[in-house]
């Protein structure tokens, strides 16, 4: 039995990737949950908002690279991020002006807004593909590893290596900063509190003199920032492909619903829950068990519960279970 090596294998293949993926999902789910809490509909265009934001970041990154600007060991995309957020915010604000505001004015039912957001999703998706194409794009530059597997082995003398990529650390740190900023904003500023009040009780917020159009505009700007950040981090960690963001919609919605729609804390918990479930169910545990179990009992198969092709089934299954037994989610959001 070799607990240390087992732990290293676990950290390398399950914990670290799960943590990074969870942080990306949490940021995405936060955006979905904010739109749901304040604009009161499920925004299907969120995945493609992320794609658009990432595309903007890539274009700015290329521009910066051609000017010879880099961020040292960190990816240039981080410098591009604020510009990409501004572009995305402009896009979603224009979308709100041109499309969503009309449906708000006629007090359309949430289900109509969902369909509208699907239309927006197709348009945004087409826009992204039209501008940057459908190919896979790697835009991560700078240092590749914080610690590489070989260095780790030499350092510790263990048989197994632990690799931590720069993008993984950046993902977790950036997500933590973004979440801290968001919670500080919602809990301590006048505008943030008015957003919570509007989400809690729209009529009473109006009676208190809170301007709904302002609340909606601020919400879209924050959602654009969260979506772009999530998209760029995901793209840095894996790679950019216009379609993958559409596919991310399912785990993101699963995370938001599992946590409780409308609850920011729930979105974060949901993001990590979905991410770790996906990773643990689709990981082949053979090597970890090989170190842990006594000799002769090592598994012969891969001990993989599900092929990685089916990882989306995990989100679906969790979604169904939560909706059956606790429809308001773990943190008691609004029921769907």
């Amino acid at each position: 039995m070799d607990v240390l090596n087992a732990l290293v294998v676990f950290a390398n293949f399950v914990f670290v990737p799960g943590l990074a993926y969870g942080a990306q999902l949490a940021l995405g789910a936060l955006g979905v949950t904010l739109v749901y809490g304040i604009l009161r509909f499920s925004n299907f265009a969120h995945g493609d908002t992320m794609a658009f934001g990432t595309m903007a970041a890539i274009l700015v990154t290329w521009g910066l690279q051609s000017m010879g600007i880099s961020f040292g060991p960190l990816p240039t995309a981080l410098i591009a991020l604020p510009f990409a957020i501004a572009a995305t915010a402009a896009l979603v604000l224009a979308t709100d002006r041109g499309i969503y505001r009309f449906y708000r004015k006629v007090r359309a039912a949430p289900v109509i807004l969902v369909i509208v957001s699907m239309g927006v999703m197709f348009v945004m998706n087409a826009l992204t593909r039209f501008i940057i194409g459908v190919d896979e794009i790697n835009f991560a530059d700078g240092g590749r590893f914080i610690i590489a597997a070989r260095e780790f082995k030499e350092l510790t003398g263990l048989a197994e290596g632990l690799a931590i990529r720069t993008t993984q650390l950046i993902t977790v740190v950036t997500a933590a900063v973004a979440v801290a900023l968001l919670f500080w904003f919602l809990g301590n500023t006048r505008t943030g509190k008015s957003m919570r009040a509007y989400s809690d009780n729209e009529d009473l917020a109006l009676l208190s003199g809170i301007n709904p159009e302002r609340v909606v505009a601020v919400t879209w700007i924050i959602v654009a920032a969260l979506a772009t950040t999530a998209g760029v981090l995901y793209g840095l960690d894996k790679s950019f492909k216009a379609f993958t963001y559409f596919q991310l919609l399912l785990p993101i919605f699963a995370a938001a619903i599992v946590g409780g729609l409308g609850s920011p804390l729930g979105a974060i918990a949901g993001g990590f829950l979905i991410a770790f479930s996906e990773v643990t169910v689709t990981y082949a545990w053979k090597r970890v068990l090989g170190y842990l179990l006594p000799e002769g009992l090592e598994p012969e198969g891969l001990v993989q519960l599900m092929s990685t092709d089916y990882k989306f089934a995990v989100s679906f299954a969790i979604l169904v279970i939560v909706l059956l037994f606790r429809p308001t989610g773990l943190f008691r959001g609004k029921s769907v």
């Binding site: 509190k193 919570r196 009040a197 009780n201 208190s208 003199g209």
Partner: protein, 236 residues
Amino acid sequence: MAEPFLIGEAMTGGYGAADILQGCTIAVEKGQIAVIVGPNGAGKSTAMKAVFGMLKLRKGQVRLNGADITALSPQARVAKGMAFVPQTQNIFTSMTVEENLEMGAFLRRDDIRATLEQVYDLFPILRDKRRQAAGELSGGQRQQVAVGRALMTQPRVLMLDEPTAGVSPIVMDELFDRIIDIARTGISILMVEQNARQALAIADMGYVLVQGTNRFTDTGAALMADPEVRRSFLGG
């Protein structure tokens, strides 16, 4: 007689084609308490909403301090010094007591701490629970938060839609005492009440509405003494 501070005069209107209010008049003097009572479906809450601008009037006028405010939105009336406490969903349940009060003062740009202290002095229990989520409080405490939120705008008129609905008799007496305290500071109070007897006992003016019209209008004491009012509306 001089013009009352706030008056909804000969109000006619309703939600759809049918008029719920049929020319009823509600008024309140400065620093006084006016109570609207009447059977279910008499249009009590509707009259209140009409005065606050949440219902479009087909006929009639609402005047505040002599100025015609009939065309103003509820939000604009808040800015003019009117405050309204709805019967249900009158607090932000997920926010703390203090945040509820802060949201009440959202339109104000000046220092709200003095007003906050006044509300805490009026409802001391809220001071102890100011960091607690308002949704976790008891029914009576929630009503205190709701009234406190409305007071944060420093209104000249406070309108309460059944403030004692669903609270125990002891809490009701306590709330009525606080409402008298508020009126003594010069704020006019207009309220709809289901507990007619207790409400008329503290009222300067009472309005008995039946089917959207004024059936009886007199001082609270006179209405209590009127045998017909007693028989028909106060249960003998």
